[in-house]
Amino acid sequence: MKKQILTFLIISILLFLGNFIVPAMMNPYLFMILIYCGINIIMGVSLNIINGITGQFSIGHAGFMAVGGYVSAAISFYVLMPLLSLFPSDNTILSLFFQNALFVASLLLGGLGAALFGYLVGLPSLHLRGDYLGIVTLGFGEIIRVIILNLDFIGGARGFTGIPAWSNFFWIYFFAVAVVMVSFRLLGSSHGRALLSIREDEIAAESIGIPITRYKVKAFVLSSFFAGIAGGLFAHFIGYLNPSSFTFIKSFEAIIIVVLGGMGSISGAIVAAVITTILPEALRPLQEFTRTDFRMVIYPLLLLTLMLTRPQGLFGNKELSDVLPFLKRKKSP
């Protein structure tokens, strides 16, 4: 356990240094793609907890992201910004620290808001099987979007402007690393084993005394918490939110990440998140040759080809350490 904490600390320090180095040495456009990669990694890996590890079928991930994004944006805008303006805004380390602490607080509250919704959706609907659960989560995501459209204090259809742009490389990758490590830890824990057993055979799992509904709800809450965090990071990066960002297409994108990477594979989800973010951008220069925009045709074509030629996803249910053995953890002495 201590080792994990140490690892986490080292990575945090690395990321903290990266926060100053990476934006400076990178073209801002590529940096932006890198940021989107990070957000998509959080989305993909967190959805993997439900869809990949527990074997449940959720198509409402964008809804949780929207809840997290709007909750944390509203808290930052209506509570934290007035609070901050009470203090002199000099760029001392202390005030920066204070601002970042508030930012994390608003992110966590956004995550908790999303987790609460995850609980509310999960609890009654988890006795539904398979596709029905998927449809309920899809419906839930759409309901969230319609409700946001009708709430004036967070902008409604006109969008929520004036969100402070507090997200940075450090926080986005900090949470990306956090969700990845939580997932890995989960897989190794008894909770994770229980979730895996639910994926493999619900009836068998139940018969050996695993309370499957409780575990499913836990997976849902954990997953939506991180989706909410992703939403908060997203909101504070763009500085603007609009309900049109959170349609069911967004949920599909998250599912595509999970399936493309290989169901249940965490490294797969990371790699797939990076690929699905970079691919549409990488196809952009093509437009200059073809005149018409074939990008959005090529993307589904590639997706189809990949599904047909490698249906188990890029990684299957393997992890990167299974493919590259030198990454394997050495036997502890």
Binding site: T7, L14, G18, M32, T161, V177, F184, G239, P243, E281
Partner: protein
């Protein structure tokens, strides 16, 4: 240490990958790069495409006439799929990778609001052809718009309803998903109720719907004098049709989103006796309008809609500003844009006010036998 190694390897791989993609492009001295971002695919592709056509018409014509002292304008178009976050990355790409000196776009305020802060941060002037939300140009002094804003247009139609139509009770039917429609409906209601009228029904639909009979049946029972439908032509045509089927005879009122020949093609004669506000009238004998309509028809084979005209104008305003700058740096362009006074464009005479919004007159048009007839001009 499994995770640590794994993560640090991915991290390294990232940096490796990105440092490779950063190759510098050769700069051509005889090309002035202008960025355009718009919704060329996605659910609002039809609006983005129209605007793009208008912009390209203006730029190509200018280049064919020799360009700016031998320098050609090159428009780099980036698609944002109608998503705000894509608009943000599109603008970042245009500014930082393509090094454009000015930006044109976006059609919808929701995407302009995502893109404008970035343009402002990098101090690149941005001219939006049709984002009507007042907040867009409030982002900063580098953001301009060549159309009128929601409050003005809502006011125009509200005053028209009270004064010319003598309407006392109206219904509003808005597209709840569109920021444009919601904004217009809001300011219409404000002005109309200020004039002593009453909005007795405020209903909504969602872009993409095909059946509006439920809303219209509900409106019918309220006995209104007019119905304000501030949506895009894509839905208004069907709404008019179904209103006629339900034998609703009161006029429909709308905004510049109506301007398209598709409107009357879909609605047929159902829209007769309806009114909408617009930037210009195609009836106009102004040579600029005639020239634009004719050129557009020749290149794209269809009558330009309002968005095409506004894209055309935004490009013209930008070209005009470019002509007045010695070195075409973003700062110079910004100053030149701000100095734009009484510029004769297709959609009217454009002068920027202190908020960098175009101040221009609106016209009210009547739909008559599938034609748009001029009714009156309203000055700001």
């Amino acid at each position: 240490m499994k995770h640590f190694k794994f993560i640090s390897y991915t991290f390294l791989a990232f940096i490796f990958l990105f440092s490779f993609t950063q190759c510098s492009k050769k700069e051509d001295k005889n090309i002035i790069k202008i960025g355009e971002y718009g919704s060329l695919t996605g659910s609002e592709a039809t609006f983005g495409t129209s605007t793009h056509n208008g912009i390209m018409l203006a730029i190509d014509a200018f280049n064919n006439q020799g360009g700016l002292n031998g320098k050609k304008l090159k428009v780099i178009t980036v698609d944002d799929q109608g998503k705000p976050e894509e608009a943000a990355s599109a603008v970042t790409k245009l500014i930082t990778s393509d090094k454009v000196v000015a930006l044109l776009g976006e059609v919808a305020s929701s995407r302009s609001l995502a893109g404008a802060p970035i343009a402002q941060r990098y101090k690149i002037p941005m001219v939006t052809p049709s984002s009507t939300n007042p907040k867009v140009t409030q982002v900063g002094d580098y953001i301009f718009r060549t159309c009128f804003i929601d409050p003005f247009q809502g006011q125009v139609m509200a005053n028209f309803a009270t004064r010319t139509l003598k309407a006392k009770k109206v219904a509003v039917l808005r597209d709840v998903k569109s920021d444009y429609s919601v904004g217009l409906a809001e300011f219409f209601t404000k002005t109309f109720e200020g004039n002593g009228g009453k909005v007795v029904a405020d209903l909504s639909y969602t872009a993409g719907d095909i059946d509006f009979k439920a809303q219209l049946t509900a409106i019918r029972s309220k006995n209104v004098d007019a119905i304000f439908v501030p949506g895009y032509y894509t839905e208004v045509g069907l709404i008019a049709r179904q209103a006629k089927e339900l034998s609703i005879k009161v006029p429909l009122l709308g905004g510049d989103g109506w301007d398209s020949e598709r409107l009357t093609e879909i609605a047929g004669t159902a829209l007769d006796n309806s009114f909408f506000s617009n930037h210009y009238t195609a009836e106009s004998q102004d040579p600029r309008v005639l020239d634009f309509v004719e050129k557009y028809k020749k290149v794209y084979g269809s009558v330009p809609d309002g968005l095409a005209a506004m894209g055309y104008d935004a490009a013209l305003v930008l070209i005009d500003a470019l002509k007045r700058t010695p070195n075409q740096t973003p700062q110079e362009i910004r100053v030149a844009l701000a100095e734009t006074k009484n510029f004769q464009a297709v959609t009217g005479i454009i002068s920027f006010n202190d908020n960098r919004d175009a101040e221009k007159a609106a016209v009210v048009l009547e739909v008559k036998n599938k034609q748009f007839k001029f009714v009156e001009t309203v000055n700001p």
